[in-house]
Symmetry: C2
Subunit: 345 residues, 2 copies
């Protein structure tokens, strides 16, 4: 716990290099319009003094912070039980780092925190925000929109407010679900059940829609509500088995609930995939590879989603146009999914 030492200022560097503050500033910010010998002298002075620009002073005049808030608005601590957010965070972090932006993490605890987050964002402490808020009734997106902070959402925000200018990155949940169900059908299965995710989230709703796209007139008893957790998967599977003992396949809304379903199936004496084929969603490696048997699933590139969110935001912020593409208001992106075949289906 040492104390922070006094740090050299632009002034000090200028004095040492024998130039003006303005010139040092120019060199520090890229060196445009300064002749080589001077650039060299300034660089050396910076080096020798260990000069690091004071971000506060800089922000004060540029009104830029080179910082982005990441808002994770999950009511429950379930957030990190899933490796989901972690992976997305990693993708975000990589992209932000590549363009020298900092990541300010805002975790919310329940409703009261929304005001806090909104205040922070409205306070202009960051240049933009990446927001994870997937619940249908979440007031946060609205608050943020009112705060006027450039924002990219993680997952299609399911709220009823003004839709204009809303940018999000999502997986093709519906398409992926269709692919999953078609795969099961292609295996000759006809009694294909679905364990949904938490239906107040758009991803769960979309996957259910995808299931219905293929199973146009499916027996409604083949659908059981889960909540993306293993326990929820177990519950739903037991329910399904009770209602339709003759089912021969299950499409679970994510790998975690598939894992739960798998346990119940085994306990009930069914063999997977012989008696019942099971397919998950996410391709969460530590889960999908570790189940018994290993899980066939729909892969979504979560880290890439994070990276893309950051890239879109930065592009909208006009940060020297990250990674090419046309500058301007970016639009939402829906990433494709892939079927990963293991043994469960």
């Amino acid at each position: 716990m040492t104390e922070t030492a006094p740090r050299p200022t632009l002034e000090a560097v200028a004095a040492r290099a024998g130039v003006s503050r303005a010139t040092v500033s120019r060199v520090v910010n890229g060196g445009e319009g300064v002749r080589e010998p001077l650039v060299e002298r300034v660089r050396r002075a910076v080096e020798e003094l260990g000069y690091v620009p004071n971000q506060a002073a800089r922000s004060l005049v540029t009104r830029r912070h080179d910082a982005v808030a990441v808002v994770v608005a999950e009511p429950e601590s379930r957030v990190f039980a899933d490796p989901f957010f972690g992976l997305q965070l990693r993708g975000i972090s990589k992209e932000l780092t590549a363009y020298d932006n900092q990541l300010v993490l805002l975790l919310t605890e329940g409703r009261d925190d929304h005001a806090r987050v909104a205040r922070y964002l409205a306070g202009g402490h960051v240049d933009g925000a990446l927001v994870f808020s997937l619940h249908l009734d979440d007031p946060l997106p609205g608050l943020i929109q009112r705060a006027g902070v450039p924002t990219v959402f993680g997952g299609r925000p399911g709220w009823s407010g003004d839709r204009r200018g809303v940018v999000y990155v999502d997986s093709d949940n519906r398409g992926g679900a269709r692919e999953a169900v078609r795969h099961l059908a292609g295996l000759g299965r006809t009694r294909i059940a679905h364990i949904t995710g938490a239906l107040d989230q758009t991803s769960a709703a979309d996957r259910l829609d995808g299931y219905r796209d293929v199973m146009v007139d499916a027996d409604p008893r083949l659908i059981a509500e889960g909540d993306f957790t293993p326990a929820g998967g177990e519950r739903a599977m037991r329910e399904l088995l009770g209602r339709c003992p003759d089912l021969d396949a299950v499409f679970a809304a994510n790998d975690l609930s598939a894992a739960g379903a798998l346990r119940v199936l085994r306990a009930s004496g069914r063999r997977v995939p012989d008696d019942v084929a099971v397919i998950g969603f996410d391709d969460m490696l530590p889960v999908a590879e570790q189940t018994d048997p290993p899980l066939t699933t729909i892969r979504q590139d979560i880290e890439e989603m994070g990276r893309l969110m950051a890239r879109l935001l930065l592009r909208g912020l006009d940060r020297r146009n990250p990674a090419g593409g046309v500058v301007g208001t970016p639009s939402s992106v829906v990433l494709p999914t892939t079927l990963i075949r293991r043994t469960s289906a």
Copy 2:
């Protein structure tokens, strides 16, 4: 993606309230030494204009940022496969939020990033740092110490540098391990094996030490090296079964590797706990409760560790002395562990 609107300044509030900037500043910062009617007038003006202080301007003069960096220096993306960091982050976030500090997340990708992190910390953008760097040979703690940033480590840093003034928060890994092994011994088990964690981390080394404390002259073949992952647990368990088919208990360095071990034991036809008792470490709920059978384990309060790290740092920063206690250089804290009995042992 709306543009940020121009925000009112102190000046504007002062004008509206008919007072000086200084008075507004005083009110905004607690209102000490300003008479009630004025306070009221200023408050109203702030409210009406929606004034939010410009943090950059404030930092420029106070040299405080009310921001803390959280550095996660895990080489591999394994970081978030474990819910570990997520939980700790949550604890940290809660505490920081309670004292109005922001959380700047710094994830590192391999060695090259160390310099970046060190530069950032040395740059004085944050008031302090919370660092997770548990590897023995990690140069980061040294770099940070040189940067002169007040720091609290998560887990005992295992490095050979200057130890003075190093503050950390850790679980009683050694004591917990002793309790685990004693519990197995109390069950009448005598051939107690140990699956270690990644031994370049202090927590793994400490747990191994704890095991040895009880099993003073254990057969060295009863120890197999794991790496805290389920796959590592499987590998180690197979190794152990090959070397010592007569073992009757296993203490795994964490729940994840215990889950792997459990699978191998079942595949080998052993009954748990009848033939082999198994105990884990961490009490990672989504893992420990979902194994078959549910895992007996050593619980550590991970969220509390995070909270404590933040509290210690803030206290060292002299932030109005969070949560009581003597002000001054804080010292390290080692949190106790608890045995959680489920069915595996």
